[in-house]
Amino acid sequence: MSAHTAGPIPRRTGAAPSRRIGTLHGGWILTQRELAHWARQPATPVFSLLFTIMLLLMFAFIFGGSIRLPGGGDYIQFLLPGMMALAMMFGVESTMTAMAADAKKGITDRFRSMPLGDASVSLGRVGADMVGSAVELAILIGGGLLLGWRTTGSPAAAAAAVLLLLWLRFALLWAGICLGLTVGRHQGAETLVQVLVWPVGFLSTVFAAPELMPPWLGALAAWNPVSATATAVRELFGSPTGVTVGWLAEHAVLAAVLWPLALTAVLLPLSARAYRRLRR
């Protein structure tokens, strides 16, 4: 025996666990894994927050002065809720990257070789990313307040706005999981998604009013699920929405409930299928 290895490998004492742990319990343990990552390596979440804050400052101070809003209103009041919706949408990328990294390193296979519920691995991701996004939202709200953004809605409306934002994040999480499990293993596809989130995120009402875009582009932007959430959240926070006409102006909150619901209804089963197809 070398100096590296000690005595014999001990047998485990105590009764064998008779049943596998529940799916939710497994998900919770894997959520804790991610939280432990942040404690061990705080630079990663901090950099991703700095990025969001940088984007916020760029639009608030560089472009903000030259953008006007239909229906009037201060740009910073308009921008903040939009940035929150955009941050939720950009989460797709970090979810995908994290899922793909575990798959590439064989960690997903190790989990799959253990007596865990099929959904535990994805639920762990959901738990961790939802906590991460809640923290990100809190920081954006805090930063916004420092920049002079104010909510004029009731506390209940503000709480509803936060829930709608997290609802969008939840729906798009499944896109990240699905992409991470399928194309995520190919570096090229991963980069493509990282590039595509930009036009998809920007072709919305996040930074500018759709009414000021060419009509066809404006229509596209108004139909973007990110726009539904951004506009609904602006309404609830009492911020200017920049949308004065059309379906979105009338039913933003409804759209912000239904869009993520529809996305989840499609993407959650696709993610489950992608996970099962790893067995092929």
Binding site: A6, K105, G106
Partner: protein, 323 residues
């Protein structure tokens, strides 16, 4: 560390695969794969790249579903009861599957909890295993700071948390330096010594020769030869005497002196001045050869009995129909 290779009291095999098939696109990764691994033994699965070793391990450890055939691991059917297989068998994949950001102890506690241990049980088990695998001092450090060998040992420790009946090791020493490789060999030998059945895939024949009680050689998705390493070597043509001479003339003299000594004719290699004589009776033939050389007054530089290596067996079997 090697056992005698004979089965302990005829228990059911720990792994039994019958006619496994798996097709990826147009490639038959497994094409009628049969395997029986005796309980408590180390079974080596050898084969060139692309022979289907990893596909076989993936199916046996329930990661991948076979297109056809059946397999049982630790008494459970991989298709009908994958949950039981996962409780009774551990998988150590090709790359160490540990969380590199977390510490060694954190890794083992997390895996222990995922396997159904309570937090305190998982912590106690983690400490035992860190000690046993020589990682106690590095327990708090992130796994990313570990050497390749340490990471692999942590990986193997994670596979031992529940005392599995069967452990799959898929090329556990790939990419390790000699120190790391020896560490892993020791770990595997200790795991085998406590009665865990090990299925070990490898491309290093030395590794199989050292660790495995039985070896199956794979080619193109099926097993083409099986047996204890010594059995396979004997099949390959038995022992021979190798004699090194100082110069071509001496080699020729030795060749003449030994003609008829052991039956078959000696082969004389003019370039290396080496004489090879088949030795079907092993040491008896060697003694006879030494006596004859002595009687002829010939003193070779070196003389010895040599057995075919597993490499020779492997190359002969896997390259037979190629070229």
């Amino acid at each position: 560390m090697r056992a005698d290779g004979c089965g302990p009291d005829g228990r059911r095999p720990a792994i039994r695969a019958v006619g496994l098939r798996k097709r990826y696109g147009t490639l038959d990764a497994l094409d009628g794969f049969d395997l029986e691994a005796e309980a408590g033994a180390v079974h080596g699965l050898l084969g060139p790249n692309g022979a289907g070793k990893s596909t076989a391990v993936s199916i046996l450890s329930t990661l991948v579903e076979a297109d056809g055939g059946t397999a049982e691991v630790a008494g459970a059917d991989v298709r009908r009861d994958p949950g039981a297989v996962r409780r009774r068998a551990g998988l150590i994949g090709q790359h160490p599957a540990v969380d590199e950001i977390l510490g060694g102890r954190q890794n083992l506690v997390m895996f222990g909890r995922l396997l159904g241990l309570r937090r305190r049980e998982a912590a106690a088990r983690a400490d035992e295993l860190l000690e046993a695998f020589g990682l106690a001092e590095a327990a708090a450090r992130p796994a990313s700071s570990y050497s390749g060998g340490m990471r692999r040992r942590l990986d193997i420790a994670a596979g031992m948390i529940l005392d599995p009946e069967v452990l799959f090791l898929d090329e556990p020493t790939a990419g390790l330096d000699p120190r790391g490789r020896i560490d892993v060999w020791e770990a595997v030998a200790r795991i085998a010594a406590r009665g865990t059945t090990v299925l070990l895939t490898t491309q290093h024949l030395e590794e199989a020769d050292r660790l495995a009680h039985r070896v199956s050689i794979m080619k193109a998705g099926r097993i083409i030869a099986e047996g204890a390493p010594d059995q396979l070597k004997r099949q390959r043509g038995g022992d021979r005497i190798e004699i090194a001479a100082g110069d071509p003339a001496a080699a020729a003299d030795i060749g003449r002196a030994l003609t008829g000594a052991t039956g078959p004719a000696p082969e004389v290699d003019g370039l290396t001045h080496r004489v090879t004589v088949p030795a079907p009776r092993g040491t008896a033939d060697l003694s006879e050869a030494v006596r004859r050389l002595d009687a002829a007054g010939l003193a070779p530089d070196d003389i010895g009995l040599r057995r075919p290596t597993l490499d020779e067996v492997f190359l002969a079997l896997t390259e037979k129909e190629d070229a």
